[in-house]
Subunit: 584 residues, 2 copies
Amino acid sequence: MTPRGHAFIMLKRYFPIFSWLPHYQARLFGADLLAGLIVTVMVIPQSLAYALLAGLPAVVGLYASILPQLLYSVFGTSRTLAVGPVAIVALMTGAALSNIAAPGSAEYIEAALVLSLLSGGILVLMGALRMGFFSNFLSHPVISGFLTASGILIAASQFGGLLGVESGGFTLFERLATLWVNLPNFNPATLLMSLGVLAFLVWVRRYGNASLKRLGLPHGAADLLARAGPILAVVVTTLVTWLWQLQDQGVAVVGTIPSGLPPLSLPWPDASLWHTLLVPALLISLVGFVESVSMGQMLAAKRRQRISPNQELIGLGVANLAAGVSSAMPVTGGLSRTVANYHAGAQTPAAGAFAALGIGVVTYTLTDWLYYLPIATLAAFITVSILTLVDIPTLRATWRYSRSDFAALAMTIALTLGEGIEAGIIGGITLSVALFLYRTSRPHSALIGRVPDTEHFRNVVRHEVETAPQVALLRIDESLYFANARYLEDTLYNLVASRPALEDVVIVCSAVNLIDASALESLEAINARLKDSGVTLHLAEVKGPVMDRLKCSDFPDQLTGRMFLSTYAAWQALSRPASPGNSA
Amino acid sequence: MTPRGHAFIMLKRYFPIFSWLPHYQARLFGADLLAGLIVTVMVIPQSLAYALLAGLPAVVGLYASILPQLLYSVFGTSRTLAVGPVAIVALMTGAALSNIAAPGSAEYIEAALVLSLLSGGILVLMGALRMGFFSNFLSHPVISGFLTASGILIAASQFGGLLGVESGGFTLFERLATLWVNLPNFNPATLLMSLGVLAFLVWVRRYGNASLKRLGLPHGAADLLARAGPILAVVVTTLVTWLWQLQDQGVAVVGTIPSGLPPLSLPWPDASLWHTLLVPALLISLVGFVESVSMGQMLAAKRRQRISPNQELIGLGVANLAAGVSSAMPVTGGLSRTVANYHAGAQTPAAGAFAALGIGVVTYTLTDWLYYLPIATLAAFITVSILTLVDIPTLRATWRYSRSDFAALAMTIALTLGEGIEAGIIGGITLSVALFLYRTSRPHSALIGRVPDTEHFRNVVRHEVETAPQVALLRIDESLYFANARYLEDTLYNLVASRPALEDVVIVCSAVNLIDASALESLEAINARLKDSGVTLHLAEVKGPVMDRLKCSDFPDQLTGRMFLSTYAAWQALSRPASPGNSA
């Protein structure tokens, strides 16, 4: 490859914008622009709400949706991930900062910037060190369970807005409990509006496309217009609220927002602040990365695209650095905004960039127009989008295929709903790993015999095969390591104890990819104990890499028997019929 | 089997004493009695010291070496494990109790009994629930590292006694630091005595047997007498100290101990005390179990014996229950006392029982004789016994055989020396598991070809084999699960991208023992993506259990190609030479 070609590949790897921008077309532009508009309208109140959740001024949420997203569009690899303030990170931010200063004070706001810079630095460092493989250790059932449970949690968090009542708390139980308590205070006008918007959005999602086509619109236009349904709902409900001054009827609205672009600054407080915020920043980075990558992988898989976890670390890191210098707060890929972006039809990261620019425009000039935007409308939109994450088909398929994986999935859902996202992810990963170790700690083994007139050997239980009484061919269907070393010994000893006529045992290693130090000790113990019992131990079909390691030990010298290249060679050498005078 | 035979097997399982007592002989009796005498002499000051370490009266340590050990000899499965107070459990006990009452007060002493009962109950419960398999997850390198580091730690803890100076602290660093600071205050008489005893003990261990035989003693007697060396050292140094009143020269002695058998009682304090001590009891139980089982397994392996972790849980649990009713403290298998028991020649648990009875006799009548016993003598004995745990041959063998395992071993040693036993074990296990996951997350795969004129297939890189340009036979040497699902996809996509002429890819699954839900999704993604590229995907040699699971999914229907029973069948079907007119 030419140096120029090589340079171009490096450019695309570290600046992923160059992998899609050169191929940009009018069709993509149209879809992305529309998606950008939809997302702009949708994320504004969400951003305001999450900033307040973190104890910061509402406008900080808007700032956090501008520059970070723009930079992610240059450095990130997911076509549909939307970056900005998210609920769980906002909660963690509030918790970290409230130990340092009073919410809303100047020190508090500056500490938020420091937290963003720290988080960004950690993410970029992890990306540079190629630590993205951590995300491999999230099994798909755990990811699916986490997204399902998060979807339920966020939907439940919107019920209060839909009904016009207060609701709070972190776990599903707390939220539903406060909802139940406040239920009698629901606002009829809000409920009416919510039901109307919900019904409209569900109808548009399911039948909008077909109905528009029946009206004679061409396919592309029908699709676009159907996706624009939510904007229509926003505009209509805002107008209705303004016309009839519904906020006096108890319908919650967004209210006043200060206008102007985000001020730029470089915070530089004393070293102790950096030190205090280091661990919260680390946790926020990890949770944010895991959420974003799991979302990104799932959505990319739906479109047969792929993301690069290492580059995602860099993209999210740069986004957080941008947040730190633009008066914002820690950001990451947001669940509801990403899902909205995806379902609004985003094709490339340009959609996210358009949304960021859109929010910039709104923050600069249009904040007054948001005054009458009902909270209920956006609660309805979030609810409808989020519930698509509840992945029933995967639940069913996993239950059918693998009970272990289903257990991990169920545990993740239960922990996320009961204790929160972090507990859910950690519990899910721990259970996945523990189950895998448990399954491999009791490996399947099969006594095998010869398929007549061939060189193949199969399980005596499942096939009609030839065997010999003085030889046992035992195939172990697992790599040998510490978790199953003891079970291996038990298996061998039980075999020898149950067949007193045995003279030779051959361990067929065609499925053994690894023999670690613990298993090697167990093999040495087995060799010695079988020798005491008058039985010779052999190995067959040891793989190349495994044999290379064995040669660095004393085991080949200690082994009482031989190492055969194939099971057939072992069969030929050992299964000779007993000669007269010998007892079989 | 007859009901009577069945009952007898159950009896031996839950009362292991019945597996060795019926076969008891005079030879064993002699060895066990001598070992019991040696251990009696050795554990007395150790028990006193550890009770003081826990903030309890010194005599409590003696009580803790009587009834608990007697009951362990009935219920335990290790022939050589000696049960009593140990350093780390004493430290944990002191830490737990000092939050509740003032050290030495009546409440404090009663709380120690409650802690013992709780710990005993937890262990018995775990044993009844067959949770002993937890100990399987300790890899041998981690156990070896932990024992090596513990040996170093305990030996270092004796240096103060050897030199007659103060030393304290928990980590190796702290201990050596305090030693260094106090070094100028060393006591010459103590040092002289220590050097003398050390030299004698090392000489007896190495040459005692041979020298006695040269003197004409028969083999058995020479062996016994050589093992009695330490008793000689104890008697001589005690006499010397008494004769010359060396305690006035600064030689530390054991001092006054109250006499009488352990008082029996059943503590029953309020519920809040049980509640407060629950977590410390759980930790003490876990650490005690892990230490005892790892010691027990290592020593049993040396003698080709086996222990039963589940029954060990019950044995240790009953021992702690006994401690709780006999005015004692939490107990477990002790490192130095077990090693002493082993090297003193114990053959069965009767040795431990004799030691317990011996201590009972001493506590009843002979406590005055212990007054002049020099601490230095016992420090020397502990040092010489313990350093046998530092397992250099295993370190070397592990380094040669497996760098991953060596890393886990080194980490365990480093953490144990630097942070303590718990940190060492937890760190070692975590690293073992993490390394195993990492190794299996990048599985070895081999393109295979046909060994000419046979039905066997081997790695194209290592053997001379036939291949076909339009077919790739890829053998994956690992089970497929979440940690390597992504790598599997990368491998397949890279393969297809590097060979544009490919029409068929066969994944040979002879080494695949498991396909979990994540890997199944990856296979489905691979199938679809290869289909888009015009390549057909096949599987070969799928194992029975794996196929059973696959049938519970949609994958067999989605698969573009076929599932072949053998690689040879796939070869026959797919490797037909290209007919004229087709491009190869």
